[in-house]
Symmetry: C2
Subunit: 392 residues, 2 copies
């Protein structure tokens, strides 16, 4: 006779070894407002990546000296940055086809890391365009390759050497993305990313996604990162040695102008304010990353589970802001909550009289058992019209 | 007060418009042994892909004449194939960096389509290597690009022009994959794919995945495809006109030798024979493809949900066979069933006395309400040892 395991909180937990579950409870109870990250130790993979890259360059590069340039960056060097300059000048370190097209390259005096991607068939969703999850995945990939190719990578996923020595990791606290146009299968996109200081103890990472052929900017994103001790799970100041490592890479440019950024507080949803609550969402084994945590990007799928079906089908997701507050493991059953925020004013300049109003929603993911918040989010949606370009 | 939607069969169904649900029931009840496919109409994306490619070649190719070669294939031409020849000769049609590295190219007298991929960070799983889902996704992508680049593509996802005229689509009935080694983040893999006849009315598609740098074959896969009318959902013979289109591409080579292939029947699991049953698995909005069906590859994640946790953690999935039997939509709640088949004999040649025996499992996914089968599967697992290469 078969033993039946249902997706209730208790039975799923039983699949987790005791010590793992204890560790998770410990992590969740340190009372931090933020503790989610995907920059945990994946040492093996990082070492592998570096080895592969060198081999690739050795076999394909026309200028072997570029090897020194990649890893020989003088970290004490300073750069004069023209804040107003937005002219793109390609000063790539290595232009071998394999490196340039599969791994990315530095441009603009090594302040910007650029990587090209082709949208794959399985990265598109029901409306045949790249999903928001796909975009976020590509942003993550570009950020990680930026850190690795900068020569700063320590033993963690995106951590620098000085951070690794101190058992520190980057954790993302907020990410905001604005999509002007979603790409289709076979479209080639080019992603630029760079970092800058954010207050005293934060780092800002921005991205721009361009259509490779038209050069049109189709997506902009910005994110805030802070440093956490991976053992105590407590936030800490950026140590001077770490600041010394990353500061030479700081680039004073913003992907999203201040007045267009979404930096407003996201309201907490409760049973009384949520319009829809989807319960019983169970992380799958395949949602876990190397650290047995749910990958940041996976939250998007769960958030969308409580969005009305007609909105998913008839609207483009044009803007999303995620505020990460807590880690999540496979043992946690989740609830996805959504509530309409307000209707965006109809565009008075629009020629179309019957144009549907855009939609704004507030979302929250929380643990099903203790209702602890995992992530708050805000989304904005634009009614789909044929051959429509999104405007935010 | 919020309205709470739980993941029970009934409440989820209510989110589906009535006509959609009816259509799905109709599809499920035609009594076909197989009806799953990912080759449905995605016309827009296909057209887009072709346009992009041409633009890319025009801007980057050193030999503009190759444009004619890509689309000018004489479909009446015949090829003399040396069945025993396995020597790889690169006769690529277009070698512009963008095309070669992002889109793929024909090799071996245009019988083999080859595409290169870099494993991205988010395509790796808890053990830091590319997941089985990732491998299957890459195989799908290569197959679709093969059809598109062959110049045969009609308006469907992988369908030829003569098929589109007749409203016919390819459906996969069986796929078998053998993994010798899983790649890590940053590894570059090269995938070869080709097709051949399979009996009177089937087509076989094979793949080989190589480590780009070592040239080692790390994965082999083979699949069987038949033709279905996309409206009646009935299987049909390959029309002469379609055979005429595809036959010039048939290539008499097998990725997996007959004696190493898994062509045995997969036993049906029932409540009494399943060791584990995971119920309440709910497809997410993001699991759907352009046709509101669950993408083939998504089944893998659900199958793994009923595999014992220690096996997922301590063993490599070295072999998987999927037998597709029915389509699945978002309205369907699923059950994942797993049962150990037998323990593989310990390798008597192994020096390691304490070597763990390999594992074999039988799986089934079925609808939760009417217990209708969706997919049967068989997996084989190899105990993880450090720096271990998998042997099947």
């Amino acid at each position: 006779m078969a033993s039946t395991t249902t997706t209730t909180s208790i039975s799923v937990r039983l699949q987790i070894p005791g010590n793992l579950y204890k560790a998770e409870k410990k992590n969740n109870n340190v009372g931090l407002a933020i503790s989610n990250c995907y920059y945990h130790s994946r040492n093996g993979a990082l070492i592998k990546l570096k080895r592969r890259r060198f081999r690739a360059i050795a076999s394909a590069s026309k200028s072997p000296k570029s090897l020194d340039a990649i890893n020989g960056k003088n970290l004490n060097g300073t750069y004069v940055v023209d804040k107003k300059s937005e002219i793109l000048t390609d000063v790539s370190v290595d232009n071998s086809p394999l490196h340039a097209y599969l791994l990315g390259k530095f441009v603009e005096d090594r302040f910007v890391y650029r990587q090209t991607f082709i949208i794959r068939s399985y990265e598109t969703g029901p409306d045949k365009t790249a999903t928001m999850e796909t975009l976020m995945n590509l942003l993550q990939e570009t950020a990680l390759n930026h850190v690795t190719c900068s020569g700063l990578a320590g033993d963690g996923f995106g951590a620098t050497r000085e951070m690794s020595i101190r058992k520190l990791i980057w954790v993302v606290t907020r990410i905001h993305i604005q999509v002007q146009r979603y790409s289709c299968w076979g479209d080639v996109v080019e992603i630029d990313t760079w970092v800058d200081a954010e207050g005293k103890n934060g780092m800002r990472r921005d991205w721009i996604i361009r259509d490779y052929h038209t050069r049109e900017i189709i997506t902009r994103a910005t994110s805030i990162w802070v440093i956490m001790n991976r053992e105590t799970r407590r936030l800490c100041k950026i140590p001077e040695q770490v600041r010394h490592e990353v500061a030479p890479f700081y680039f004073h440019r913003v992907a999203i102008a201040k007045e267009k950024n979404d930096s407003d507080k996201i309201d907490k949803l409760i049973d009384q304010t949520a319009q829809t609550i989807r319960t019983g969402l169970a992380p799958r084994w395949s949602d876990m990353d190397a650290n047995q945590h749910v990958n940041n990007v996976k939250y998007i799928g769960w958030i969308l589970e409580s969005v009305p079906r007609n909105v998913l089908e008839e609207y483009y997701l044009t803007s999303m802001t995620l505020e990460y507050r807590r880690e999540c493991r496979q043992s946690n059953l989740l609830e996805s909550m959504t509530s309409p925020t307000s209707k965006v004013d109809e565009d008075s300049k629009s020629n179309c009289i019957k144009r549907m109003a855009d939609m704004k929603y507030t979302h929250m993911l929380r643990m099903q058992d203790d209702k602890a918040e995992i992530v708050r989010a805000r989304t904005q949606w634009h009614y789909k019209e044929s051959h429509d370009h999104l405007s935010i």
